[in-house]
Structures are given as structure tokens and as C-alpha cells.
């Protein structure tokens, strides 16, 4: 339902200014039509007038570009508003995933359980892993939790050292307060052990 409202708003914003932008163009006859309507005597007297300059569309183009930017801005605001409504700060829990170096672990998928209930199983594509290795942070899960104690368990699957199948888990018991809760799953390389390391960090 919210998506429908968003779509309607965006379409309305696009359609209205375009309609206004077209109105002045249709109000005046096009130059070619005006030339056709002129008496033949005039065209004979001034042949240079018959060659009409091409209409200047730069202004219209800039206007369209401005409208596109407005639509993108509006869409972003609506997206933020939607998230605020669906995930209010007092119940919001967000889980992020980051990865460092990645010499000892090639990430394939992450399964996340909160209070023993699977909330997401996410497959990472090579492009996404590449983005994580460049410093990107992926928001793996966004949901709602009641105030109180909870337990998060994350299972990481992929290829470990020597290209072997590798699956490890990480657990965190955390307390959800009144504000939003941010948790981070971190995958690091532990050089001393030549093994990957998985930890869950509570950002409060």
C-alpha cells in the first residue's frame, strides 16, 4: 500500500510539471505553421524569413533535468519516511556486515538468527564481496525488536584457507533499549593464526 502511495506521488510530481511545460508550446502555433499561414506576398518580399531558426530546446532540457532531480530527491525523502514509519527508533534493530582484507575467507552467504528465529539468509555475489573488500558496509537486516534481552547468531559460509568449504558462527547476547540498536558483523583476517575471525560488535 505504501509503495502504491509513493508511486502515485512520484507520478503526480512528474506529470504535473511536464503538463505545465507543454502548455506554452501548444498555445502558440509552431513557427512552420505560422509561416504557412502568412500571405504569399510576404514570403516573396522577404525570402530570408522563410528559413525559421530551430527552436531553442536548451531551456526545456534544463527544466526536465531539474524535474528529474526533484523526483529523485522526493523519492529519497519518501524512502526515509517509509523506513521511519515501518521501523520506528524505539524498536529498530539494524545489522550490518563489513569485511577486512579477505585473504583467508571468501564470503558466500550469511544466515542470521535472532532469538532462534531465522530472519535472513543472504547470498553474496562476487561483485558484492568486492565492494565489501573495498570498504563497503552492507545493511544485512533491518527489523523490529521489543525492549529487553535478545540473542543474535550469525553463520558465515564460504571458502576458507586452502580453498576449503568453511562455515563458522558468531553469537552476541544484547539488550535492546529504547533507542535504535545497531550491530555489526565483522570478518577480519587473523594473520597470526592464518584464519579468518568473526565477531559481532554492538554499536549501542
Amino acid at each position: 500500500m505504501q509503495n502504491v502511495v509513493r508511486l502515485f506521488l512520484v507520478l503526480a510530481c512528474v506529470a504535473m510539471p511536464v503538463a505545465f511545460a507543454q502548455a506554452p508550446l501548444t498555445a502558440e502555433p509552431p513557427p512552420a505553421a505560422a509561416a504557412d499561414a502568412a500571405p504569399p506576398a510576404d514570403t516573396a518580399a522577404a525570402p530570408s524569413d522563410a528559413v525559421t531558426p530551430p527552436p531553442d530546446t536548451r531551456g526545456l532540457d534544463q527544466e526536465v533535468q531539474g524535474l528529474k532531480k526533484d523526483v529523485v530527491d522526493l523519492n529519497r525523502e519518501l524512502f526515509v519516511l517509509e523506513e521511519e514509519l515501518l521501523f520506528p527508533a524505539n524498536t529498530q534493530v539494524a545489522v550490518f556486515l563489513s569485511m577486512d582484507v579477505g585473504d583467508f575467507f571468501a564470503l558466500d552467504s550469511v544466515t542470521l538468527k535472532i532469538d532462534q528465529k531465522e530472519v535472513i539468509n543472504y547470498l553474496y555475489t562476487p561483485r558484492e564481496v568486492e565492494a565489501l573488500l573495498k570498504g563497503g558496509v552492507h545493511r544485512l537486516y533491518l527489523g523490529n525488536l521489543k525492549v529487553g534481552k535478545h540473542e543474535l547468531v550469525a553463520f558465515f559460509s564460504g571458502k576458507g584457507p586452502n580453498d576449503r568449504d568453511y562455515k563458522r558462527g558468531a553469537t552476541l547476547k544484547f539488550e535492546k533499549g529504547i533507542g535504535a540498536k545497531y550491530l555489526e558483523l565483522k570478518i577480519n583476517d587473523r594473520q597470526r593464526k592464518q584464519q579468518p575471525e568473526f565477531e559481532v560488535k554492538d554499536w549501542e
Binding site: L123, T125, P126
Partner: protein, 165 residues
Amino acid sequence: MQRLCLALAAVTFCAPAMADTPYPLKAHEAPDFALHAIAGGNVRLSEHRGDVVILSFWGSRCTPCRAQLEALNRTLATYRSAGLQVYGINVDDDQTRALAYAHGESVTFPLLLDPEKAVSRSYQVDNLPMTLLIDRNGVVRNVIRDYNAKSEDLFLQQLRALLNE
């Protein structure tokens, strides 16, 4: 075994009828998915916006499916440079045969596994082979439910039109 025979019989006899029924996802946005590939990394459909994508749902027991995968392999070799991506989505319960097929055949495009049938359900697969054409904006433009020489010609015409858009 009995259930399997019934299912195969249903697919065989119902195929001509299925070909005429309208596909509900046609002209709609293709549902996004991420699946494991038999070889190579995972594949997410939404990463291929801007390319024309062919999805072919297949089963290892289905003979026309194999013929179609080979035809798609030839099509990909011709149109890859024009921005074509092809994915075969296997719907077998037992992946052993799919893996054997993948290792035995020289199909150059990724063969994906859908053991839980979540993607097959979202695409409402009702016949094998079933092939979808998805345009550069991620919209399902056409579906082919039965594979034969005539449908392949039509399919290639539609594909060329999409690649030219």
C-alpha cells in the same frame, strides 16, 4: 515413483494447453533473486540491469530442456557482445543429476540451483522447459513454454528486437 510419473504425464499432456495461457508476470518487473551457481559465484538478477537476460528453467530428466540449453548456448555465443546474459535455473529435487549434466556438457553460461523452488514459485513455472526474456529495464517481456524449431525462430526474433531497444 508414481508421483513422478504422474507429474511427467501432466507436464507432457498439458504443455500445448499451457503454451496458450497468458503468463501473469508478462510486462511486470521480474522478481529479483540470488542463487548458487554450479560453477562460479552466486548470481543476483538485479545486478544485470542494462543487459537482456534469458532465464531458462530446466530439469535434468527433461530432454527438450537439454536441447534448449544447447540452443541457448549457441545464442549466447552470437549475442553476448550485444549485452545478453543467459542463466539456466535447475529445479531438480536431487541436484546430483544436475551436477552430472553441468560437468558433462559444455554449456558456457551459469547453471543455477533452486533446490527449495523459491525462485520457480515466484516465476510461476508450470512447464519445463520454460524460458523468459527480460529486457534491459528488468521487465519480463515474453515467455516460451514449449521448445521446438518454430518457437525458437520466434524467440530469436523477439530477442533481436530486445537487443536493439
